[in-house]
């Protein structure tokens, strides 16, 4: 085959095109294999004014409301979801240079916090968050800058991407847990149209400011609440999966 015909060259070009096509197909395949972890659709948090927005989040002890139809074991995982009707996920877009009001309805009971660092409210306006509701140790009604470790069910913690020294955000708010003996008498409408029962939620509200557009942040929970609280199990499952207790925030102009 010393002389190479034009058919040979065409075949070579076809092989290259086909090959890169296979690469593209494989990439799409991995992106859509949801079992590997998925990025929920982006929820553009609604603005309430020229430089403010309100983000509603709910944390549930299982994923019946937010991910109905999820298989085992995911259906039993703690989940965060957002939107006034729990219809959105954990990936958000926030407006730049704005004050964001976050209202979290917390339906889960308390678990142990391993790292005392996270019992203080950090990065919010005023350094406090407003807590309303009942825990094992009593009633909350007002702003606090720190919460006892035993009352904490989850945290909501936003951290910056590496090397973001121009516009870092660090917000960490402990979320108080409902009492262990609370009865499940509150109805919540799931995304599949069914009603699910949970205890009356504790409400935590706070505010923080975003910086300029073009930055991405990640958020997740720092209280171990995965299967079996013993380390390292407590940090697994939902805590290690986006769409459940971890997500992404992008700051843009809108």
């Amino acid at each position: 085959m010393r002389q190479h015909s034009s058919g040979f060259i065409i075949g070579l070009v076809v092989a290259l095109v086909l090959g890169f096509g296979i690469v593209a197909v494989v990439a799409l395949g991995f992106q859509s294999a949801s079992g590997l972890g998925y990025e929920p659709a982006v929820y553009q948090v609604p603005k309430t004014g020229p430089d403010s927005a309100t983000l509603n989040i709910a944390t549930f002890p299982d994923s019946q409301v937010c991910h109905p139809g999820a298989p085992n074991p995911q259906i039993g995982w703690v989940t965060y979801c957002s939107g006034t009707n729990n219809e959105h996920g954990t990936t958000w877009e926030l407006p730049a240079n704005s004050t964001i009001t976050v209202i979290i309805k917390q339906y889960d009971s308390a678990t142990g916090l391993y790292n005392g660092f996270f019992q203080t409210v950090q990065g919010t306006l005023g350094g406090t968050a407003t807590y309303t509701g009942k825990t094992n140790s009593g009633t909350y009604n007002g702003p606090k800058s720190q919460v006892p470790m035993d009352d904490i069910a989850h945290t909501f913690t936003i951290q910056s991407e590496p090397d973001d020294t121009t516009s870092p955000i660090f917000v960490s708010v402990p979320l108080i847990g409902v009492p262990d003996d609370a009865s499940s008498n509150t109805n919540v409408l799931g995304n599949d149209g069914n009603q699910y029962q949970y205890p009356a939620p504790n409400v935590i509200e706070f505010q923080f400011k975003t910086g300029p557009a073009g930055h991405t942040y990640v958020w997740h929970c720092y209280v171990p609440c995965g299967n079996d609280r013993e380390t390292p199990y407590g940090f697994s499952g939902p805590m290690s999966t986006t769409g459940y207790m971890a997500g992404t925030i992008t700051v843009t102009n809108y």
Partner: protein
Amino acid sequence: MSEPNIEGNAGNTVPPREPNHLLRAIILWVVLSVILIAIWVPVSQFILPTAATSLAVADSFTFSMLTIISIPVAMFVFVFIGYSLFSFRVRGRPTEDGVPLLPRPALQISWIGITSILCLFLVIWGLFAFYQETSAASTTNTLIVNVTAQQWQWTFSYPQYSATSQGAQLIELPVNRPVEFYVTSLDVLHGFAIEEFGIRVDANPGRTTNTAVVTPTQIGTYAVRCVELCGLLHSFMWESVKVVSVDSFNSWIQSQGGHL
């Protein structure tokens, strides 16, 4: 150019003078090595990381020395193989065999000798460079920083000041004061690394390990990164380390709730 024919070559009267391939290759080797070393010396500062402690300076200097020694080693292979490919190449299937060279015992022994000496030199140099810098013991002046690694955040506390760094992914250190990091993990293996300080140690669950005692000598901003895969947000674990003047540090540690 002709090869000394093994089977005898009737017909040629005097074969043309054979160039001394070995000499040519050696000259090429020496020249290329010298040129590349001469290039490495000024260029290395752009390739090596910033060194903010004397340990990091020793690490970078060792890297540089290793490179300078390696250049002739690499050139030996590149030059001799390249020379062979160019000078001894035949087009198409060879019709005769090459010169059946075999190493004499003297070559084998001296080769092993030279490579052993080189290797031992590197080992001894490396051990000295490392132990000189890392055997500095903690003094009473050493700043102790406790580091807790968790999926996926570093948290820091300064036990000597009863302070915990709060509120942002930033810690500060005073310049020209020795510092030692004690590292542990709450869940899985993490790797605590500050590239510019030349320190690196794993954060193991259930036990505390410590880095070497190092003294930051340059004011600036550096980074802690996680170098042991720890799950989903491994590449998002990050803390900014600012080395500042002693006064700045004192006011910062007080703002973190510390008592001087």
